[in-house]
Symmetry: C2
Subunit: 203 residues, 2 copies
C-alpha cells in the first residue's frame, strides 16, 4: 500500500505539523510506503500558469513528481488549517496543478469540455485533517462548512474517490497539551482503522 | 466612490478578462475611482509566509498596496473561474494575505483568537463574477456550490459586508459570441444598478 501525505501550514511548530508527524509515523509503522510533503518547506509554487492550462505536461519537477506519486498512492492525505472555508493558497495550488487531466480526470471526446469528465482516481481513499478556531455551531450554521463539500464532492467524488474521512480539530487556539495529545491519538487511530479496512477490501 | 477590481485568470484571452474590461469600463463611465488588478499580470505571490502570520505588516509592496486600496474601496469586485469550487490559488492567496487583521477584521482582547472576531469592512459592497463549465443542476445538487458560502459568509459576512451580488456565467466552454455579449451586458447592468443604489443609500 502507498500513501501521499501533504502538509500545508507556514509555522513549523503548528499543530498541523504535529498531525503530519503522527500520520507519517503511523503509516510507517503499518508498512505503508509514504510520500511525505511539507509544501511550505519544499517551496511549492501554487500558481497554475497559462502554459499548464489544458495540458498534461509541466516544466516544474515538483508538479511531475507529486502527480506521479498521487497516481501511485492508494491513500491521499491532506493536512491543513481552515482559512476562509478553504485550504491555504499553497495547497489550493496543489489541487489546481496536480489534480489535472488526463491524470486525475479526463474529458470525454464525445462530450467535450462542457460535459461531465471521466473520473480517474477510482479506488483510492481520501483523508483530510483540518484545524479550526471556529466553534462547531458557528461553522455549520453561519459559514456552512464549505470544506466538506470542497473535499468530499468537488475534489474526491469528482475524481471518482468514494472512500473518504475528514476530521476537523477545534478550537486549536484554546487547546492545552492534554487535549492535543488526545487529538493526535484520534488521528492515529483513524489512520490505523482506514488502513486496516482498506487492506481487507482492496480499496 | 471607489472600487477594487481583482481579476484572476491565467489566459489573457479568457472570458474572465472580457468581464474585467467590461466592469472597469462601466465603473470608469460612472466616475468611480477604480483600482484595477490582474493578479497574474502583476505576478502576485499568493503564499502567506510565517512572518506574516498573525501580524499586520508585510515586506511585500503589493500586499500593502492592495490592502490600503481595499480599505479605501466602497466596492470590492472579484472575477475568477470556478476551479474545484474555489478561486484559483493566486486569488486564494489574495484573500489569505490581504484580508488580515487588524484591517479586514480584528480579534477582541476579551475573547482572544478563539472568539468571534470584530468585522472591519462594514458598509462596503461585495461583487463576484464567476465562470463555470458545470451545469447549474450538477453544481447545486452534486457539488453544493461552495463558492456561494465562501464569498457570502466566510469572507464578506465575516468581515461585516452584508451587501453582496454574485453571478456565475455558464457554460462558458459551449458559449458563442452572441451569448458572451449578452453576459457582458448583464455584468454591465448589474454593476450600474449596484453603483446607483449604493450612491443613493451611502452603502
Amino acid at each position: 500500500m502507498k500513501a501521499s501525505v501533504i502538509l500545508s501550514h507556514p509555522y513549523s511548530e503548528s499543530f498541523n505539523h504535529a498531525i503530519f508527524r503522527t500520520v507519517c509515523r503511523t503509516l510507517d509503522e503499518l508498512n505503508v510506503e509514504v510520500f511525505k510533503h511539507d509544501l511550505y518547506l519544499e517551496n511549492f509554487n501554487p500558481v497554475l500558469s497559462v502554459n499548464e492550462l489544458g495540458t498534461d505536461s509541466s516544466n516544474d519537477p515538483l508538479v511531475n513528481q507529486y502527480t506521479a506519486e498521487m497516481m501511485e498512492s492508494d491513500l491521499l492525505v491532506f493536512i491543513h488549517p481552515n482559512w476562509w472555508g478553504q485550504p491555504p493558497a499553497i495547497l489550493k495550488g496543489y489541487i489546481d496543478r496536480i489534480f489535472r487531466p488526463p491524470h486525475a480526470y479526463d474529458f470525454s471526446e464525445k462530450e467535450g469540455a462542457g460535459g461531465v469528465p471521466e473520473p480517474k482516481l477510482c479506488g483510492k481513499y481520501g483523508i483530510v485533517f483540518n484545524t479550526s478556531n471556529t466553534a462547531e455551531e458557528r461553522e455549520t450554521d453561519f459559514f456552512g462548512d464549505p470544506l466538506e463539500s470542497i473535499w468530499k464532492q468537488c475534489i474526491f467524488a469528482f475524481c471518482g474517490i468514494g472512500g473518504y474521512y475528514r476530521k476537523m480539530f477545534r478550537i486549536v487556539s484554546d487547546s492545552d497539551q492534554a487535549l492535543r495529545e488526545k487529538w493526535l491519538l484520534e488521528a492515529e487511530q483513524a489512520v490505523e482503522g482506514i488502513v486496516r479496512d482498506f487492506s481487507k477490501t482492496g480499496g
